[in-house]
Structures are given as structure tokens and as C-alpha cells.
Symmetry: C2
Subunit: 411 residues, 2 copies
Amino acid sequence: MTHLTRSYFVKLDEQDQLAHFRNRFQLADDLIYLNGNSLGPLPKAVPRRIEQLINQEWGQDLIRSWNKHQWIDKPTTIGDKIARLIGAGPDEVLVTDTTSVNIFKLAAGAIAMRPERRKIVTELGNFATDLYLLQGLESLLGEAVEVCAVPRDEVISHIDDRTALVLLTHVHFKSGAMWNMTDITQLTHQHGALMLWDLSHSTGAMVVELNQCNVDLAVGCTYKYLNGGPGSPAFMYVSKCHQNQFKQPLTGWIGHARPFDFDDQYQPAAGIKQGLCGTPAVVANAALEVSVDLLLEADLLQVRKKSVAMGNLFIDLIQQHGNWFNISSPVNGQVRGSQVSIIHPAGYAIMQALIARNIIGDFRAPDHLRFGFAPLYLRYVDLWDTVEALADIMAHHIWDCDQFKQHQAVT
Amino acid sequence: MTHLTRSYFVKLDEQDQLAHFRNRFQLADDLIYLNGNSLGPLPKAVPRRIEQLINQEWGQDLIRSWNKHQWIDKPTTIGDKIARLIGAGPDEVLVTDTTSVNIFKLAAGAIAMRPERRKIVTELGNFATDLYLLQGLESLLGEAVEVCAVPRDEVISHIDDRTALVLLTHVHFKSGAMWNMTDITQLTHQHGALMLWDLSHSTGAMVVELNQCNVDLAVGCTYKYLNGGPGSPAFMYVSKCHQNQFKQPLTGWIGHARPFDFDDQYQPAAGIKQGLCGTPAVVANAALEVSVDLLLEADLLQVRKKSVAMGNLFIDLIQQHGNWFNISSPVNGQVRGSQVSIIHPAGYAIMQALIARNIIGDFRAPDHLRFGFAPLYLRYVDLWDTVEALADIMAHHIWDCDQFKQHQAVT
């Protein structure tokens, strides 16, 4: 490893073909934002769109906006746009509800498609909501479901001919480790099971090819690398090939074939729309559409290339500065998502000390410091400055004061 | 009945103690908005709050806002405020998800609390999503649930000792007919069943006393009389007395006792928070809080008094103008919600002709014209002008032209 210098990072920024995107976000020049894997920043085009939605569409056009401004169509029109970011086709993706609620819909739908099987394989240490929703489904359905949550290195050996569904998060929320989507989906299909990928930490930060990988089902979050805004609605994907068999249990009025007939009997809409349940989140959808449009301007191959390069450089810098931390993420960039996590028992206080210097990453209990690399707005030089700050904090024990040690929850 | 005149309505407005509230909403002077039972108008204080949320909280403070601006607490702080509008106590109401999703949670939770029973009684012609979600639960749970949906006048006779749950909408979405909450809840309890009220068409338009009526469970919509904005999140209520036994199946990470521990095993939060599932809808919550605060300024007894008076006057006016319409709503204001519905086979075209005159009510298939009376911003004189316009449209067959007959869905 050559000894890295700050001027090298400055030069990388000068050559970066994605660098111009930073100006599309509301980010102070002196802010280093390494938390886009938790909450993406504000695209500059959002406030104007929201103002228009609030004042014109809600304020002036009122109820007429459901048709006039296509409020009713947004779950599918934005869904079709997200589809282009994850290798899905039209009418396969829907913007609706939360990732959590969508996991429930898809897992319940999958179990019903494999009535002779009851086993759902997932990973211990998976993002908590994925585990919890499966546990909720197990409690509700009793003997029809058996959740088999095993350590990461045992997942593959537990996928067998009794398996109905495999639910994995493509990029691990803590470590950033990435599953091989092609191989795991293929293995799952060899055993006759269905594959549900949680793309919360993938979408918008890399190329995802759901159709090419023959993925059955997927969910994902839109407020991380999609920059959709705090609590923006999630998406769900059901492969075209399953849409005739697939039935989800949250059969709300907007998922009906003819919602405004107000029939007494539910009849699912054709295609992906059957995944809808209640009234769409109109205001949040408006912000999300702007953010997705922005991401569609970028080349995801370039995005991924920069993301991997940034992760590699960050690890090099951390290692160059001594042995303060264990690296929790894969060192091989090809099997790592768009983040690097490092471990220290005083992780919380160290992150607080960094935040005090306007360098924002996040902390995941008990000991993970997470740094997300969103290639649309992160500068190479930010990596250098972050690790310099980190080294200073460690060398001078700056984290070891009461100011930084009081634990507060952050999402 | 005295023959009514326009000047009488003008005088009523001059004496109206709620009249000053109209100026708190973004409503053009020449607009008559009778659709607040579908989508409430924009409170003038909302745009500024949203701008602050978008630019300052999301744009500047970013991820730190979850704590700094209490994003994480809003489901319960706004829930506690809504509680004051429906006669509930602190920690009994939660703002989360949609009415549809909340119906599923509460109905599933109720069935689990009556394991020896499987019958859920509801009303045919109830708002569609209430019926559909029960049907979804029935499909999912098989023999553990039997949905008994019967005509309105047979509901009472079907509540028996085999009944686990009764789900009724307090005010009917089409007719505006109101159930007697005290009596039905009491009858339900006499049979050992649980009572779930859908308050979508009640909340904010009248006094509701959940605790006084010993109601077990309730849900409701916030974008109608609460003016929370298009697609704003719904609320759910679980009586304190059931919170230790109650378990809902959508066990997402935000409903965990310690969400940021990321434990592998779900453990429900204490109190109403266990009803949370995914990440809260932060932007929508900001608008909703402003709207709820506005409503809390009003005296709900006064609101109800004006609403009943308006309904009575509207019916008088319709009848004074001849026999164009059948009145679908109860003529007795004491058993009517805050709307009057009238019936005509050409209802859709008639409503379109009214809308063309800037008088906005709505249409519910196949033949209901709905007029909602939101006492905070509706003027008495609006009633007069609406019925005058309606009479003109009918007398001159103005609705009977192609312009008004093409059916488009509106929510």
C-alpha cells in the first residue's frame, strides 16, 4: 500500500464524473455526511415541489387532485421508476406502506404459495424488523410457519426442500456484507422455495438486477440512498411471473380491482396494484418522486464503481493510521455494500466526538461505527478528513469525556 | 317549516361563534367546500411548518432530528393530542400507518384475545376497507375467523355469545347514519365480545367518548375532519385495560421495547407503542400535528351543535325545493354524523355540474351525492347557495350534458 496523502484525494475529486451531483443536494460545504445509509440528505429540488403540492394541489385543487395531479397513480408511477434502479420491469414495483409492513405482506403471500411447506430461513442479526415481522407472522399463523433464523455462515445449509421462503437482506445493515444475489436465489429455487430480498441498503447505491437474478419478491426502503425524506414510503416488488398466484393478506380498498365501486367483496387489482392497502402517502410521494428522478440521472455502474473505490480507500486510511479499530466490513469491495463499519467498545462516544466536528456517521449497538458512502454527494477528500479526525480523537482520547458518553438512541 | 331565506343564513353566520376559524384555512372566498369528510382543506399554518421541517430539520439537522426535533416521539405525542378529541387518555392513541393497516392489527389482536371464539360481526355496506381487511384476515387465518357481515338492521341480532369482535363504523361513510356507541358497545360486552369502532367519519366533527363508553379498540382517519393532509397517517386506540393482553401481529422494529438494541427477538414496547411497526411518516406527521392543534382550539360541543344545525337546515332546504332527491341520511340530527347524502340516479353528473360552479361535494357509487359539513370553515350561507345551485341544475337539466357524465374515480 502506497502512503496516501490528502492531495491524492483532492485529485480524485477533480477527476470524479459524479462530483457535479453534490450541488443538487442541500449540504453545507463543511459538513461531511456519512449517514446516507440511514437518512439521505435533502435534494434541492424537493422544497419547491413540496410547496407546490401543499399550496397548489392540496390547498387550491383539494380533492380534485386525486385525478388532476395523479395522486392516485403515484404508487405505480414512482414504482415503475424505482424498477429501473433495481432491474425490474414495469408493473412489478409499488411504492406503499413501510418496509416492515411490506415484509409482512410478501412473507405471508409467499407462505400461501407453498402451502405444503412452513419453513422460512433467515439470518440471525438480520435487520431487526425483518426478524420481528417473521416472528409476528409465526405467532399469528401458528404451525403453518416455522422461522429458522440461523447465523450467517449457516444460512446456506439450512435452505432445503422443506423451505418455503428465504428472506435475506442483500447488504447487511451493520457490517455492509453483501450476499451473492444470483447464487442464493438460484440455490433457493433449486429447493423449490421462494426468495425475498430486502434491498434497503442496496437500492440507489449499486446495480441490482432482480429480473436477471430471477428474484421472486423484494422490499426496500426509500429514505436511505434514494433520499426520499424521513419516513418516506417503502417499495415492494413481486415478479410478473408470480402476480397471478400471489395474494397478500392486507387487502385494503386501494388494492381492490375497482376501489371506487365500494363493493362488499374484495377482489384484488390486477398486477402489482394488489399490493396496495390504504390511502397513499401523497405528500411523502411527492418528495420521493423528485429524489428518484435525480437518481435516475446517474449511471449506477459509475455509482457503484465510486462506492467501491471509496470503501477501499477508507479501509486503507483506517489501517494506515494504526490499530485503533477492527474492520467489521468485508475488505473485498466486491462483496461489500456502500458502507464500511468499524468496531470499538467505545463506539458510541467516538461517533459523538466525530459528530461534534460536523462529521456525521452513525452508531449501531453495541460497538459498530457505520460510515455510509453515497457517491452522489460524498467527496473523496471527505474520507481523508474523516479518518484524520478519527485518528485525532483516538490519539488524544477526546471521546473519553462525559460530553460524548451519554447514550441517546438514533435511527 | 318556515319558508327559509338567504338573509336568515347570513344572520346565522354573523352569530356563529366558530366563524372566525374559517380564516385559519386556505380557502378561496368563492369556494364552497363540502368535502371535508373526504379531504380536509389546508390550514394556513401548515406550509410554514412543512417548510421548516423540510429545510431545517431534514435539510440542516438531518439524522440528528430524530432526537433533536422528536421525530421519533410524534406517533405518541400527536396520538395523545388526538386522544383529547375522542375521549381517550394518554398512552391510548397512536398515530401510525393507515386506517386499513390498523384495522388489520386490531382485528387480529382482538381475535387472539378471544381464542375460543371466531366470529367477527360487521355491517354489509360498511366502508369497503373495513370489510376487505376482515376478509383478508379470514383468508389468512382460515377456520380461526368467520366474518359475519350482515345488513345494518340485522347487526344487533347477530351479536351473540359466539362473537369475538364487533367492527362498526361509527358514522356511515355513505348515509352518515350514526350508531349509538354506548348501547352497541354495552351489548357487545354483554356477550363477552370486543368492540372496535372505526371513527374515520366522526373524529373532529363531534364529541366522541371512547373511555366513557368503555370502548375496547378504535381506528380512524386523520385527513378528513382532522385536516391532516392527503394520505396523512391514521390513528389507532387500544384501551388501557387491554394493553397488557393485546398483541398485534405487525411486530416491526419501532414497536419493540428497545428498538435501537437491534435484538434478534421481538419484545413489544409497553403501552400503546406496541402498535407501531415501521419508521414513522415524519413529513406527514408535521402537517398533522399543526392541524390537530388547530382543532384542539375549538369546543367540540359547539362544533357538534353547528354540524347538526347545518345538516337540519340543508335537509329543510332540499325539501323546500321540491322532490328532486331522496334523502339517504337520517333526518333526525341526533343520529346523523356531519354529512347529508341525497340520492339521484344521475348523481355523478349532478355533482360534476355542482363542482363546475365551485361547489365541491362528492359522489359515492352508485347514486349518492355526499355533502360534508365541517363546522370550522363552512358558512351557513354556503348551504343556501349550494341548494340554490342544485335546484337550478335540476330545474334546467344542466347535468344532462356529456361534459358532466363521464365518470372519473375520486376518493
